[in-house]
């Protein structure tokens, strides 16, 4: 697969490094500057992830309050141990420097404060307390996740997405493996033209088939069920067929010829030789499909618009945004929860995943 193009490069460059060790300072400085530049770019590129995480842990109060920090935090308060009453804490500029004091009596021109460490003594301060800033301390509002989880009915959405994804996954695997095997191992009239058509469908705009397809599913009563989202996957798709075919073609023909001489049928050769030898690419196809199903928005939107209980996560998320659009922490919490499974899958299998992308993109 694509590994072959990447591995030798890496070893070659370490070899050059070894040869010129300890000499070329200019090169080192160049490398450091370049790497720093790339790191800044990557930081900018990924900073919305921090935004998503931080916002998902903020309270609505913090969202609307001016001067609030970027991270989830709460303004400090002080509870009078005697009366049990809660007072806001402000940063008060005194002659001795800034101090964190609790505001006990509000006044327009002058106010009275108390030092939480020495609550018996009242401190009078002249000036408007409204102009003072408050000290904030880190305080993540985990309850947003609980609320989003319940409000969006996350378990339901998760279950729906997973079911649609897994049924489609079975269909994709069965059909794409069969079709790729057919294209990689057998000679038959029209093979090249048919394969060209397979590739051409990648470029076919989906808009051109959507209207009659919808009408057709409506006619046979499938609208409002999972069937339009799952059944088509049992009929192969161009990307995965191409990816699998490229891999199958790297398996030497001699292996299946030997098995054929031993009397194995093509079906038998597929299941007991080709499939076991292609685990990496099959895993890549599975990952692609799961990520696809997690992402799929338009088809579930039109086929399940009347059935909120059957909708997958992408549609549920967008519906949730329509209702809770004015509550950013809940929106970000639900967006983050929806992303967790794809992120997890990617992190445990990034190599296989990225190689798959490269094969479908470069080798055509």
């Amino acid at each position: 697969m694509a590994t072959t193009t990447m591995e030798p490069k890496a070893t070659a460059s370490t070899a050059t490094h070894a040869r010129s060790r300890g000499v070329n300072w200019r090169k080192v400085v160049n490398s450091v500057i370049l790497t720093l530049f790339a790191a800044v770019l990557l930081f900018i590129f990924l900073v919305p992830l921090a935004y998503m995480t931080f916002t998902s842990l903020k309270t609505m109060d913090q969202m609307t309050e001016a001067g609030a920090p970027l991270y989830p935090a709460e303004p400090e308060t002080w509870v009078d141990p005697e009366t049990g009453e809660e007072y806001p804490v402000y940063i008060v500029p005194l002659e001795s420097g800034n101090e964190n004091l609790a505001l006990v009596t509000r006044g327009r021109r002058a106010s009275e404060f108390v030092d939480p460490n020495n609550p018996d003594e009242l401190i009078a301060w002249e000036g408007s307390w409204r102009a003072l800033e408050r000290p904030w301390s880190w305080a993540p509002a985990w309850s947003n996740y609980v609320e989003a989880w319940v409000q969006i009915n996350f378990p339901r959405l998760f279950f729906n997405t997973l079911m649609i994804a897994v049924i489609g996954l079975i269909g994709t695997l069965l059909s794409c493996i069969m079709v790729a095997y057919g294209f990689s191992r057998f000679r038959f009239p029209g093979k090249n033209i048919l394969f060209t058509i397979v590739i051409a469908t990648i470029f076919l705009p989906a808009a051109v088939t959507i209207v009659p397809t919808f009408a057709f599913f409506q006619m046979i009563g499938w609208v409002g069920t999972w069937l339009p989202l799952t059944v088509p996957h049992f009929f192969a798709n161009a990307y995965n067929v191409f990816l699998l075919r490229q891999y199958f073609m790297t398996i030497p023909m001699e292996i299946d010829e030997a098995a054929a001489i031993d009397g194995a049928s093509p079906l038998r050769i597929l299941t007991s030789i080709i499939v076991p030898m292609s685990t990496p690419v099959i895993i890549a196809v599975m990952l692609f499909h799961l990520v696809f199903a997690w992402n799929d928005f338009f088809s579930p939107l039109i086929y399940l618009s009347t059935e909120p209980n059957l909708q997958p996560i992408a549609v549920g998320l967008s519906r949730f945004n329509g209702i809770y659009g004015s509550n950013p922490p809940l929106i970000q919490a639900s967006a983050l929860m929806a992303s967790l499974l794809p992120i997890f899958l990617f992190l445990i299998s990034q190599r296989v995943f990225m190689q798959g992308v490269v094969v479908t993109g470069v080798e055509k």
């Binding site: 470029f203 808009a207 088939t209 209207v211 009408a215 192969a236 990617f346 993109g361």
Partner: protein, 323 residues
């Protein structure tokens, strides 16, 4: 194939005839197996691609609606309606305008990023590669919400940063007609992951000898990019270009998710495909939806044909074959 079998049978059962006979029988068996294995795709192609495409054309000549069962043949009425429909033209213009802003970003940003990642001097290549690809796997709808919130004029970090830099009135982004297209480009920026990886892999596949030769000829980094890297990766750029163009003509998910497809601000996000979706799905006018879809398909087809033709000027195939 069957003709040969007939001939050999007619020629008598001589030993000389039995070899081709067996061969053709084997060939036929092989072909049968081949068709058997690709049959899921053939059936799927007929049902889910070819039949609907033909049906789309047929629908355009009818008055089919989802809510009314009676259907009549209406000739070219849908086409007449469409060419007079100001909504269609303005949505087409919106799509083209956004496409012209978005296309360079979608092509050059992944390419430049790949150039950076392909520098020999860069430390931690693997980590950077993963990092820049990573947001691609975040569900698209989730990433739309994240970026839209980043672009919020009041609470978003982008405007906070711009204010911190000293800008007094940073743009209203998604709410401002003048800024909505750049804002939509930013919303989609995490989608460059695939194109970036493909560009990078293509660059890594360029033989180092070519760079050495360019260096001997006195080429600097820019010249060697223009004369070595670009031609060598041009097939991949072409592939990306086709996918991006086909995708941009059908762009509409972001406005649909962000504001339920109401076209705000001021109709600037009423994209062609959104207009199509509204006609076919919301107003249930199947026939008119199909007409819009068919017209879009013809526009995309014409554009991709021009692009395929343009290959001869800028796409370099080392072996001389052309897709």
């Amino acid at each position: 194939m069957s003709a040969t079998a007939e001939l050999t049978r007619g020629g008598g059962a001589a030993t000389s005839g039995s070899a081709p006979l067996r061969k053709s029988r084997l060939a036929r068996r092989e072909a049968m197996w081949g068709y058997f294995f690709i049959s899921p795709w053939i059936i799927g192609f007929l049902i889910f691609t070819l039949a609907p495409t033909i049906a789309t054309i047929w629908f355009t000549f009818t008055n089919l609606r989802l809510d009314i069962s009676a259907m009549q043949f209406v000739g070219l009425a849908n086409y007449e309606l469409m060419f007079r429909d100001a909504g269609m033209w303005s949505s087409l213009l919106v799509t083209l305008r956004f496409g012209l802003i978005s296309l360079p970003v979608a092509i050059f940003l992944p390419m430049l990023l790949a150039v950076l990642m392909n520098q020999r001097a860069l430390f931690g290549k693997q980590g950077f590669r993963t990092g820049f690809y990573f947001p691609y796997i975040i569900p698209f709808v989730a990433s739309i919400f994240v970026w839209a919130a980043m672009l919020n004029p009041e609470t978003g970090w982008i405007n906070m940063f711009l204010r911190w830099l000293g800008m007094e009135n940073p743009p209203n982004w998604l709410l401002d007609q003048r800024w909505v297209y750049p804002a939509l480009v930013i919303v989609g920026i995490w989608g460059i992951g695939n194109a970036f990886l493909i560009n990078l892999a293509a660059m890594q596949g360029v033989p180092t000898e070519l760079y050495d030769a360019a260096k001997i000829d006195g080429a600097g980094p820019v010249k060697s990019f223009l004369n070595v890297t670009f031609p060598m990766i041009s097939p991949v750029i072409f592939y990306n270009l086709i996918l991006v163009v086909v995708g941009l003509f059908q762009y509409f998910t972001v406005p649909l998710v962000l504001n339920q497809g109401n076209g705000q601000p001021g109709g600037a996000t009423m994209f062609y495909n959104l207009y199509l979706y509204k006609n076919f799905f919301v107003f249930q006018n199947m026939a008119y939806g199909a007409t819009l879809a068919w017209f879009l398909f013809l526009i995309i087809l014409a554009t991709t044909m021009v692009l395929f033709w343009s290959q001869r000027f800028w796409v370099f195939y080392p072996t001389g074959d052309r897709k």
